[in-house]
């Protein structure tokens, strides 16, 4: 189906330029391609661990695009490569983290990959125990309020993690103080092997917002534009001083939970195949092409460009030095 130049495409209706729409795609593809590389490196024994964003890219990039990296703060979780790339992390950063090298900007090689953090990129340092970042986001919003700074604190987590007490306590706190927080749940219907109906009692995670006096929204997480729209609305609410929003982006994790997992035990291949047909990398590219702002040739070129970038990043990271062993003793306290 071809559109005439006068027919507005969806991104234009949302106020996004063609270049923006393509930039979103670029980040999604960068995230995916890095992730694929990480798996290769893991399977070839070069890095001990990978935890994936595959299938979540549209949700992550769509959401991060609605934020302002110079104004807002993000408190992502381990899958959120799409968020941290949009906030300025590079393929090299990610590879340095994968190889656990000294230069890793997240942690100097101290943490596993997927444990993001960068003060100058407004990415608050994260840990492994799930959901602990959710009250931190509320604290960032509270602090900014106190200092008279307008910003949005964005935090994301899986639907499994919305069952932790910290989610509840944080939402309630934010609700009471009408804080500018976006609670972004990437609902991929599994917490490792545990399926949605065994981990979440409500039909939607978004239903939980009713308990905190702010809106809960369900959005198709395979559609970056729909996610962008929902998050942008939440940002506007937050900046108007109207408080928090809980957004549930429905996605699917296309690969096992992590490099240590084998998902064949708990998910049928048919289910995974069906989800792959809705892979946002495919559907969004199709959208761009249909909108006549993107071509197969451009796509090929972009893929090559990103691969080059990732190849360089990998080579750099692989040969970069580890921290000296005694470095382990540093930064327990201020020095």
């Amino acid at each position: 189906m071809r559109k005439g130049v006068t027919t507005m495409s969806r991104h234009t209706e949302l106020g996004l330029s063609d270049a923006d729409a393509i930039r979103m795609y670029r980040y999604m593809l960068l995230a995916r391609t890095i992730d694929e590389r990480m798996w290769l490196l893991n399977r070839s024994g070069k890095i001990p661990f990978v935890i994936s964003c595959q299938g979540h890219e549209a949700a992550q990039v769509g959401a991060a695009f609605a934020l302002d990296p110079t104004r807002d703060y993000v408190l992502p979780y381990y899958r959120d490569l799409g968020v941290t790339l949009t906030f300025g992390q590079t393929a090299r950063d990610v590879m340095l983290s994968g190889f656990a090298k000294k230069e890793d900007p997240n942690s100097g090689g101290r943490q596993m990959p997927g444990h993001f953090g960068s003060r100058d990129k407004h990415i608050v340092t994260g840990s492994s125990p799930v959901s602990t970042q959710i009250p931190h986001a509320v604290g960032v919003a509270l602090a900014a309020n106190m200092q008279g700074t307008k910003l949005v604190a964005y935090t994301s987590f899986g639907e499994g993690s919305s069952n932790q007490g910290d989610f509840h306590e944080a939402c309630n706190f934010a609700g009471i103080h009408k804080l500018p927080v976006i609670f972004f749940c990437e609902n991929n219907k599994y917490a490792i092997s545990v399926p949605y109906q065994k981990e979440v009692a409500s039909l939607h995670v978004a239903d939980r917002a009713a308990g905190y006096g702010f809106p809960g929204v369900v959005v198709d997480g395979n559609d970056p534009l729909a996610v962008y729209e929902a998050v942008r609305e939440a940002v506007e609410r937050a900046l108007r001083g109207e408080g928090s929003t809980l957004i549930e982006a429905v996605v699917y994790r296309l690969v096992p939970h992590s490099s240590d997992d084998d998902d064949r035990v708990y998910r049928s291949r048919e289910e995974v195949e069906a989800a792959k047909r809705k892979d946002p990398l495919i559907t969004y590219r199709a959208y761009l092409i249909e909108s006549e702002i993107w071509t197969g040739a451009q796509d090929q070129a972009l893929r090559q460009e990103l691969l080059d970038e990732i190849n360089q990043a990998t080579a750099y990271a692989e040969s970069a030095p580890y921290s000296d062993p005694e470095e382990a003793l540093r930064f327990v306290y201020a020095e």
Binding site: G108, G117, S118, T132, P135, G139, V140, G165
Partner: protein, 327 residues
């Protein structure tokens, strides 16, 4: 110099730091209009308003977690846990997050948080309003744990804790709030975290302790002096980091060491104090390293007979000190 109650010193430390630094704020259950269930924050709400003296919902993990987020952003939160017993729901935030934020980010982020909590027994608080909880934290690198015994120390150490760029747990013995009064300068001052105080020197026995027990030990030491038993008394003031040099010097001063704490014995702070001495000053000892502690029971009962059984008192302290002196 004016004498002030322990609790007044604490209140004054917070008030002065809040005046001096707009980033300092207080958050906890009932800390606002009510001024805290012990009145430690009394007057703060009136002076600084509800935006800086936040009555938090009844959710300790959020109190810690929100404070951690605010601290990471650049504020200096003082979170109050109403009773130290109720810090348990916040342990994940304190141990997994506050304690590890600087380390895990390779010094990119840090967490200048103070958590205040009243601890200790002997006040009819029963099983869940009497516990000592310092031993669950002094083992955790990344945390500092302060347990002052005097009003002077409380003020100086609390101001230091608020200014510290890393997380500090500040445990206030609730029995001392209105029992102890000593000279406290009106102006702000700091005392270093991690430095013990020599309360008296002596030749016969060494007592190492902290909190309420520092008072009992001092009282008893003065009494024993009359019987010719001279006591070297070290008040740890900070249980993490421990003042190793002061502990070793104290042990060497007399060669006979008694470690005292209210907390139950097994795995308490006294274990580490004893182990440090046994590792680094063993040949300076003339007697086994004794410990006088609470019994290993889940907590202090409500009934006065059983509460008294649990609690140390000057008499039990005197017995142990005399026993060591006689060794």
């Amino acid at each position: 110099m004016a004498t002030k109650l322990y609790i007044e010193a604490i209140r004054e430390a917070m008030t002065q730091e809040m005046r001096a630094d707009a980033n300092v704020f207080v958050m906890g259950e009932d800390v606002g209009v009510r001024g805290g269930v012990f009145r430690a924050t009394q007057g703060l709400y009136e002076e600084f308003g509800e935006a800086r003296v936040i009555d938090a919902p009844l959710a300790e993990s959020a109190i810690a977690g929100v404070a951690i987020g605010a601290a990471a952003y650049g504020m200096k939160p003082i979170a109050e846990i109403q009773f130290a017993d109720f810090i348990m729901p916040a342990i994940n935030q304190i141990v997994s997050e506050a304690a590890k934020m600087r380390y895990r980010s390779n010094n990119d982020w840090h967490c200048p948080l103070v958590v205040r909590a009243p601890y200790g027994g002997g006040v009819h608080g029963a099983l869940y309003h009497s516990q000592s909880v310092e031993a669950m934290f002094y083992h955790v690198p990344g945390l500092k744990v302060v347990t002052p015994s005097t009003a002077y120390d409380a003020k100086g150490l609390l101001i230091e804790a608020i200014r510290d760029p890393d997380p500090v747990l500040f445990f206030e013995h609730k029995g001392l709030y209105r029992m102890v009064k000593d000279e406290v300068p009106d102006e702000a001052y700091t005392l270093p975290i991690g430095k013990a105080a020599i309360r008296r020197t002596g030749d016969d026995i060494t007592v190492i302790t902290y909190g309420l027990m520092a008072h009992y030990a001092l009282e008893v030491a003065e009494e024993l002096e009359k019987d010719g038993i001279s006591t070297y008394l070290l008040d740890l003031r900070t249980v993490a980091p421990l003042d190793k040099a002061a502990i070793l010097a104290a042990a060497r001063a007399t060669g006979k060491v008694l470690v005292i704490h209210e907390d139950n014995k097994t795995g308490g702070v006294g274990a580490e104090v004893s182990a440090i001495i046994a590792e680094e000053a063993l040949f300076d000892l003339d007697a086994p390293i004794m410990r006088l502690c609470g019994p290993d029971i889940p907590a202090m009962p409500f009934s006065p007979t059983m509460e008294r059984f649990y609690m140390l008192n000057p008499e039990k302290v005197a017995n142990a000190m005399r026993q060591l002196a006689a060794f």
